[in-house]
């Protein structure tokens, strides 16, 4: 049995690294939390990993727009090693602040061109909001992380999560490409067409505002549950990607096994 290995980025105000790592471990992956400055000192380490997570948080205090400075840091400090990782078609998940970073880097929605065609703007209801919301998978979504999911509930916790496109035609294109991975069942932040999560055309790079890592166990359900160790709805997102990696690369010996 092979075990894919994930890098979980931390530092500079990222604050969901521990639960994101725990979620990936529960899904069967090896997960290593690495400080961005440690990674910047040896960016070649990136190649050892089969996938990457940029967790939620308030990197650089959200100054200059959430995700902006961490995106600059990734571009300038991890540079070629990071973009090689992307080019190698390894899965990347950006959750909340991580999604904002992927957008600011231009990796979503089009990593090939890195063209900036969308943004995550301040919520239209006017501020940070923590609430649970029902999510629905996008029709024909190619996202590897959300394959086979039905409607499910997760918490959102953000102040800047409203998807805005520079040109509305982008939306139609994304829809046709199956890049709309998740939508909210109701309007929570003014997001275009209630988009909650998007993927790149390969379905491997996935950004979403809701927090799947916050609901991996029933213990953190919105209402207290007796069966607290049972899986929460967020667990399937991580299980999906681990299953995808192990099934499509059966022959591959994962880096994670060596740990």
């Amino acid at each position: 049995m092979t075990q894919p290995s994930f890098l979980i980025l931390c530092g500079d105000g990222i604050n969901c690294e521990r639960e994101t790592a725990a979620a990936l471990r529960r899904a069967g992956a090896h997960a290593e939390i690495l400080h961005i400055n440690d990674l910047a000192a040896a960016p070649e380490k990136l190649a050892r990993f089969d996938g990457m997570a940029i967790p939620g948080g308030f990197s650089f205090g959200d100054e200059l727009g959430s995700g902006q400075i961490l995106a600059l840091k990734i571009r300038h400090k991890l540079g070629k090693n990071f973009f090689d990782f992307v080019a190698a078609q390894k899965p990347i998940i950006g959750i909340c602040n991580g999604f904002q970073v992927l957008v600011k880097l231009g990796l979503l929605p089009y990593p090939a061109t890195q063209q900036r065609v969308m943004a995550l703007a301040p919520n239209l209801q006017g501020g940070f909001i923590d609430r649970w919301v029902t999510l629905e998978p996008g029709a024909n979504s190619v996202c590897k992380w959300t394959q086979g999911v039905d409607a499910f509930d997760l918490p959102i916790r953000h102040g800047e999560g409203r998807v805005v496109f520079g040109d509305d035609a982008v939306y139609d294109e994304l829809k046709d490409n199956g890049q709309i991975a998740l939508t909210y069942s109701e309007d929570v932040n003014g997001s275009h067409q209630r988009i909650a999560g998007l993927c790149d055309p390969s379905g491997l790079i996935f950004g979403l505002m809701p927090h799947p890592e916050a609901f991996v166990y029933q213990a953190t359900n919105l209402t207290p549950q007796r069966d607290f160790m049972a899986a929460g709805a967020g667990a399937q997102i991580f299980r999906n990607i681990v299953t995808h990696l192990t099934e499509t690369n059966k022959e591959k010996v994962y880096a994670g096994r060596q740990h």
Partner: protein, 963 residues
């Protein structure tokens, strides 16, 4: 630092999509300030000392959302032409978080420059210059930390604001030589010395310095003494010898707070108290793998001056207490409790009666709330419990309580106990975190000093969550690597307190202040020693680990500086550039202060003192109404109504461990994600009953504890594994000519402490940490120029933390039609102190408390948790409100049998719950509790009592009114 004015550059960032956040402010201006403002638009401004336009644009502007401008630009807005423009910028030396982050961003792109941030606000509508200035002052900027220039729009556009750019800069030329101060003075001269230097030392204390230390001392020595002996650090009132109606009390702290913990520990043989009253936070063992520490602080004066900055530094400060408990714990949950004047004050007719210089209640509420939001959210700590309490007596001094729970392993990787710290002589003194500025020198006492353009704003500090988050990540890593031997936070008193206190571990320390990193030059040695610049910890590092400690700090982007060593010299020695500026024997500094002697009198309740002629404040009380109408009135009272929109702004689920969210009676955290046992959790709750202080503070303290414990029980907490924290906020209790009520207020404090002792003993619950704040008064003028003086309601906040078994917590609201409703703990009586009595101006007796009966009930309830379908305590508003809340939360109806009057419906007697039980468990339940059903849960969406149904949606719309 010089200005580099030749290359300075101004960038304006225009948002190309609408921003709804500004609409709230425009509404606030219309409704709260009575200014005809239709809309506000904001353009962000950055000034840099270098960089090319195209490079800067790529850093500062998002191509989809924004546009960067480098030249004079006349903005077009959908609202037409603006009437006024307000240009807001930070004053020199004020923490500018966007500016600092922007400088880091530029450095990543290869541009080395300083950055200052600001905003332009465009005001639309029929307002005049005075109205625009009011909006600027009240809504857009705080004069203590920001400069706001108001221009008519055409004047603003007429000048070229992109020319002659300068960044705010602190210019100080101070002599690094300490001043020598002689105490060979008359009493009157000593008093004026204390006042002029903001020492807050009494004449007797200065005479004690003269006799026990020396007559000629340096300003550094005197300032260290003043900080170490301040009420804030030393709790002189709680330690005082008190003459209470002729009876002698040798320290309220020793004879009540500390004693009850010792008595409870002995009586119950508790083995889970790991560290109480000695460290930065109380430490308890509710888990086989990890220990928990908890601390609650107040930040009242800073929040009165700058609600946002005060609350932000408050929450970050209490987080550091946790980081500095034992060898350091990880903050895992925050709590917050606010006591403010009602948010609808002042009505237009009341404006001139409000205290001068204090922000309007609404601004305090919004600012404090935003500070707690940013402090918790940006640090990645969930806010799991809190409360709002409104009363007009908080109009002069808002109370802001912030608390944090931390988790640490029993044993660190190197085998040391995490709860114990021990520095050794020879260990290096490291200052970690932010640099030192003049921030917070002498705290709030300097707030009235004149502020000019180049003077650093010292009165208030703004927290920097990013710096603190980096420091926290680093220190927890250094802890696990075994790189330090002791740690404490730099809070009140700065280095003088942190180094001075840690020096007691080894019996000495020597530091050189010239080594400390500074925000700007020109700080005097005494200023470096007592500055309260934020985000700093003091750490003892064994010399063999100093190199590794520094390396890891640098890797985390954290500044750590070796400023000296712990010694066994018996002295706190302070150098500046290798020359001695202070040398203080530790015994003198910490143990020589003579006990204060105070008078306390209690001769029963006194009517509330009206701080403004009551007839001039609008009478909000109502004439008696039907129970239906009264219920709806209560549901929309600020003390009861839904706080959902405020609570949702706090991240309450980060760290993925929040088991009970903050909309129930108490919050609960799962411990497994923090290294605890799989089936283990804790509940956290609070209680307070300030209006009962007007009846008897003894009862007030008992009811505050009871409410906290009720909430714990409702959140599934085990009353036999429950610890408490006490936070007293009192009006000045020291009798003097200026404070004629002092002895009575101290009498109230004695009563409260006695009540606290008795209830803790009866409930078998130890106090593990506490704090007191004793000068919560306003003395000055109202806005009409009349003299007014008043204190807050004597307030005791009780915080409780208890063990929870995962999977056993019942719902907080009704769940299923057919469930049987019971009122546990009896019908209660006595409307005194209730919200009903307040709204309807009813003079009534206070309720009574039966402590033995209550704790017996709580233990029984805890054992019977599986029987309950739902569990909700009866508190503000009484039984009928608790019932309505249970319906609203569960979207169910309820049919009650029997009839009620106002007293049975709305009294707030302690020890009671509204519960529901599945019909199948009815018999088992009644056998245990001997209770009689009072009704049933229904699915007809109405509350039926006294025969008349009241639709659920009517209840919901009253309760959802909010504020």
């Amino acid at each position: 630092m010089t200005g580099q004015k030749t290359t300075a550059c101004r960038i304006e960032i225009e948002s190309t999509i609408p921003d709804r956040r500004l609409e709230k402010r425009a509404l606030a201006a219309r409704d709260g300030l009575n200014v005809p403002l239709d809309a506000i638009e904001e353009v962000k401004v950055y000034k840099t000392t270098g960089g090319k336009a195209e490079d800067l644009a790529a850093v500062f502007a998002d191509p989809v959302l924004q546009q960067a401008h480098f030249n004079n630009k006349e903005y077009k807005f959908i609202h037409g032409a603006p009437a006024f423009v307000v240009d807001v910028a930070f004053r020199a030396g004020v923490t500018d978080n966007p500016g600092h982050a922007a400088a880091e961003a530029l450095a990543l792109s290869g541009i080395e420059a300083r950055v200052a941030s600001g905003s332009l606000y465009f005001l639309f509508g029929g307002l005049d210059k005075a109205g625009a200035e009011k909006v600027a002052r009240e809504l857009l900027a705080n004069d203590l930390i920001q400069k706001a220039e108001v221009y008519p729009a055409h004047d603003f556009y007429a000048r070229d604001r992109f020319k002659n750019i300068s960044l705010p800069e602190v210019v100080r030329t101070a002599d690094a030589k300490p001043e020598t101060i002689s105490l060979d003075l008359t009493d009157a001269e000593l008093e004026s010395l204390s006042r002029e230097r903001c020492l807050a030392l009494s004449v007797d204390e200065l005479k004690h310095v003269r006799s026990a230390f020396k007559t000629e001392l340096t300003d550094v020595e005197l300032e260290i003494i003043a900080q170490s002996w301040s009420e804030h650090c030393r709790h002189k009132i709680f330690s005082a010898e008190i003459d209470y109606n002729g009876e002698k009390i040798d320290s309220l702290y020793k004879t009540t707070v500390k004693r009850v913990t010792q008595d409870v520990q002995k009586a119950r043989g508790l083995d889970w108290l790991i560290s109480v009253f000695s460290d930065n936070a109380g430490i308890v063992r509710f888990d086989e793998h990890i220990d928990l520490c908890i601390k609650v602080e107040t930040h009242n004066s800073p929040s009165a001056l700058d609600p946002y900055g005060g609350a932000l530094t408050g929450i970050l400060g209490v987080n550091r207490d946790i980081l500095g408990a034992g060898l350091g714990a990880r903050p895992v949950a925050n709590t917050d409790v606010f006591c403010f004047a009602p948010p609808d004050m002042p009505l237009p007719a009341e404006e001139q009666f409000m205290p001068q210089g204090v922000k309007a209640p609404r601004r305090v509420l919004e600012g404090v709330h935003k500070g707690v939001e940013d402090g918790g959210n940006k640090s990645g700590i969930p806010t799991v419990n809190g409360a709002f309490f409104f009363d007009r007596d908080y109009a002069g001094k808002p109370l802001v309580f912030v608390g944090t729970v931390g988790a640490m392993p029993h044993t660190l990787p190197d085998g040391r106990k995490a709860a114990e710290k021990q520095a050794r002589a020879g260990d290096r003194v490291f200052m970690v975190g932010g640099a030192i500025g003049a921030d917070g020198i002498h705290g709030a006492t300097f707030s009235s000093m004149e502020i000019d353009e180049n003077a650093p704003a010292t009165a208030v500090q703004i927290g920097d969550p990013l710096t603190q988050k980096r420091m926290t990540d680093f220190l927890l890593e250094a802890r696990d690597l075994g790189l330090y031997s002791a740690i404490t936070d730099n809070g009140a008193g700065g280095l003088s307190s942190s180094v001075g206190e840690m020096a007691q571990m080894t019996n000495g320390a020597q530091i050189d202040l010239a080594l400390c990193p500074v925000k700007y030059p020109g700080l005097k040695p005494w200023e470096l020693m007592v500055s309260e610049s934020q985000e700093r910890m003091t750490v003892a590092v064994p010399p063999e680990h100093a190199k590794a400690f520094l390396e890891r700090a640098t890797r985390h982007g954290v500044v750590a500086t070796d400023i000296g060593a712990f010694t066994d010299s018996g002295n706190l020695d302070v150098l500046y550039n290798k020359e001695s500026v202070a040398s203080l024997p530790l015994g003198f500094l910490h143990d020589s202060l003579p006990q204060m002697k105070l008078k306390a009198r209690w001769n029963g309740a006194k009517p509330r003192v009206n701080w403004s002629a009551q007839t001039q404040l609008q009478d909000r009380t109502r004439k008696a109404e039907s129970l239906d109408t009264a219920l709806l009135q209560l549901l929309q009272s600020p003390n009861i109504t839904s706080k959902e929109k405020w609570v949702r702004a706090y991240d309450h689920e980060v760290q993925a461990a929040t088991h009970v969210k903050p909309f129930a009676d108490g919050g609960a955290i799962w411990l497994k994600p923090h290294g605890g046992a799989e089936d283990n959790g804790i509940s956290i709750a609070c209680g307070l009953a300030p209006r009962l202080s007007l009846h008897d503070p003894y009862l007030m303290a008992q009811c505050a504890v009871d409410e906290a414990v009720r909430n714990i029980v409702a959140a599934g907490g085990d009353p036999d594994m429950c610890c408490l924290l006490d936070n007293f906020c009192w009006p000045d209790p020291v009798q003097s000519a200026k404070n004629p009520d002092g002895a009575y207020r101290l009498g109230q404090l004695v009563r409260a402490c006695q009540g606290l002792y008795d209830v803790c003993l009866a409930y078998g619950m130890p106090l593990v940490s506490g704090k007191d704040s004793m000068k919560n008064d306003f003395k000055g003028k109202d806005r009409g120029g009349r003299d007014i003086a008043f204190g807050v309601l004597p307030t005791l906040l009780v915080t409780a933390m208890a063990r929870v078994k995962m999977g056993t917590v019942p719902a907080n609201a009704f769940r299923a039609a057919g469930d049987v409703i019971y009122l546990l703990g009896g019908a209660g009586q006595g409307l005194g102190g209730s919200e009903y009595a307040h709204i309807y101006n009813v003079a009534a007796d206070a309720p009574s408390i039966d402590m033995e009966q209550n704790i017996a009930l709580y233990r029984k309830m805890h054992e019977a948790l599986p029987l309950f379908s739902s569990l909700h305590d009866v508190s503000e508003g009484g039984m009928l409100v608790a019932l309505a809340e249970s319906m609203i939360g569960g979207n169910c109806g309820a049919k009650l049998s029997g009839t009620f009057d106002a007293e049975t419906a709305f009294n707030e007697a302690p020890g009671r719950f509204v519960v529901s039980v599945p019909a199948a468990k009815r018999e088992a339940f009644e056998k245990i509790f001997g209770a009689k059903a009072v009704g049933t849960v229904t699915d007809d969406a109405a509350l039926s009592f006294n025969g008349v149904p009241l639709p659920l949606e009517t209840l919901v719309s009253a309760w959802k009114k909010g504020f």
